[in-house]
Amino acid sequence: MGVNQSWTNKSFSVVGVYIVHLTPAALYFRLSLRPKFKDQSTMIQAYNVNMCYKEDIQVLHDVSFQVQKGEFTFLVGESGAGKTTILRLLYRGLVPTNGELVVAGRNLSTLSKSEIPHFRRQIGVVFQDFKLLSNKTVQENVAISMKVMGIRRSEIRNNVNQLLHQMSLVHRRDAYPEEISGGEQQRVAIARAMANNPTILLADEPTGNLDPKLSLEIMRLFENFNFRGTTVLVATHDIALVRQLGRRVIRIQEGQSIEV
């Protein structure tokens, strides 16, 4: 009897494991919690992303959020909240300690080193410090992202002209970055980011050094790109500007994401 009871208990526990973990219903339930990597309408998916620097400095705690295709979203938070880290994770400048990121349909944790350049060509990034090449002119700086793709010179020339015209930088085409103003440098950086018609535009504090009028002008440019189908994610701490534009906001607070 004792043996039978023990057998019965064991079989119940096996059945229990089956019910809890392996039944189609449980699998469906579990899978529904996972991000839908193949979802074409979602451009950015962050799933329980953690980021630690030097083992003990945790910058991000279980950050999860989604950005839909064609959406214009702000990523707000205090300085040091982890906004720049999130953007760096999104263009694969960093690898998360754990968690998963799916950007433009690519799972970044399975992205090999040789695939990174091709992945980055789909993403335009506007850096906080502009990252312009000081020894190259405005038009050369804009052309660089097209040059790395091996686009023909004539095509590059046409695209650059168009972008410079759009950014009101035609008269500055032969100037070097140090010869132009901060606002113009910012526009050069945006032109470079948009040169390849990226599917996603990431901007890190793009108005950090600009006056309110110029800041609004830059945001209008982003809106213009967004209107044409580019998904835009702008990290900023300029709450007034965010309110003015009235777009979706994801707040990062103490390394955690809060949908606002």
């Binding site: 080193k113 350049p117 980055r120 850096f127 090449l133 020894n135 992202s145 040059k147 790395v148 470079r192």
Partner: protein
């Protein structure tokens, strides 16, 4: 792509500044040294061939040696293991040779015909493997005591041992200079990567592939190697022409060796730039 490669490589060389020039000068100096060593090597090699054809040991005989004794001595020497052949040179033949050698200054040996002071000799030709300093000395010493009618035994000092040591020295020096060149080219590329680190980072961020970033850096090494060696070979040639107007017997490095020097230098330049490119440019 070719235009880009050329533009970026030139830009890299310009970024390198003094170090690029230093690399070029080092490779040029290395090539000059290697070229001089190759010239020396070629001259020595020519000597080796001459030695192999010439007599290694000469046994000078007393004037009063009888024909029988001379023949017996010749047979005894021919029986030695290392000896290939022995040639007898009479006093008359020796004088004729002297007259041939001093052709332009015949008056010097004119009086010798009456009282020939040149001794008869046995020219001992040795096998190739015996052309070593120690074997030569031993064999000469052994022959010296074979007969009392032997006046003197001389042997070739410029032997294969010397040749081997010279070749070893040439290889060693060439190797050291080659390693120095590789290090300086690698250093030049590391410095270029350092000077252009921001640019490389930006290129990576806008989606530049490893080839796009790395190829100009590797080409830079190749161009340094090729241009440095071409400058070196040209300088050596100019110096050679200026210094060898008196010694017309020497000839410059043949074309295939010159091409090999430039080729090896280019390959070394390429190889030297691969490691720093992989390590520091994160390619």
């Amino acid at each position: 792509m070719t235009t880009y490669l050329l533009e970026e490589t030139i830009s890299n060389l310009r970024s390198g500044g003094v170090v690029s020039i230093l690399s070029l000068v080092t490779i040029m100096l290395t090539t000059i040294i290697v070229s001089v060593l190759v010239l020396l090597h070629n001259a020595i090699r020519a000597e080796v061939t001459a030695i192999k054809d010439a007599t290694a040991i000469i046994v000078f005989l007393h004037d009063d040696i009888s024909e029988n004794e001379q023949q017996r001595l010749q047979f005894d020497i021919e029986d030695l293991e290392m000896v290939e052949r022995v040639v007898y040179v009479s006093k008359k033949q020796a004088l004729a040779r002297g007259q041939q050698i001093f052709n332009e200054f015949a008056s010097i040996v004119q009086g010798f015909e009456l009282v020939n002071p040149l001794p008869a000799s046995l020219e001992v030709h040795l096998k190739d493997e015996a052309l070593e300093q120690q074997t030569l000395r031993k064999t000469a010493g052994y022959i010296r005591v074979m007969s009392e009618k032997i006046d003197e035994v001389t042997y070739e000092q410029f032997t294969s041992t010397f040749i081997r040591r010279a070749e070893f020295g040439i290889l060693g020096l060439g190797g050291i200079m080659g390693v120095a060149s590789i290090i300086i080219v690698a250093f030049s590329v590391v410095l270029t990567v350092y000077f252009r680190r921001e640019e490389i980072e930006i290129l990576r961020l806008v989606g530049a592939s490893s080839w796009y970033v790395g190829l100009p850096l590797i080409t830079q090494g190749g161009i340094l190697g090729a241009s440095g060696s071409l400058l070196g070979v040209t300088t050596t040639f100019v110096l050679f022409r200026a210094l060898t107007t008196q010694f017309r017997t020497l000839s410059f490095i043949p074309f295939h060796q010159t091409a090999l020097i430039v080729l090896v230098s280019t390959v070394f330049g390429l190889l030297a730039s691969i490691f720093p490119t992989l390590k520091y440019a994160d390619v």
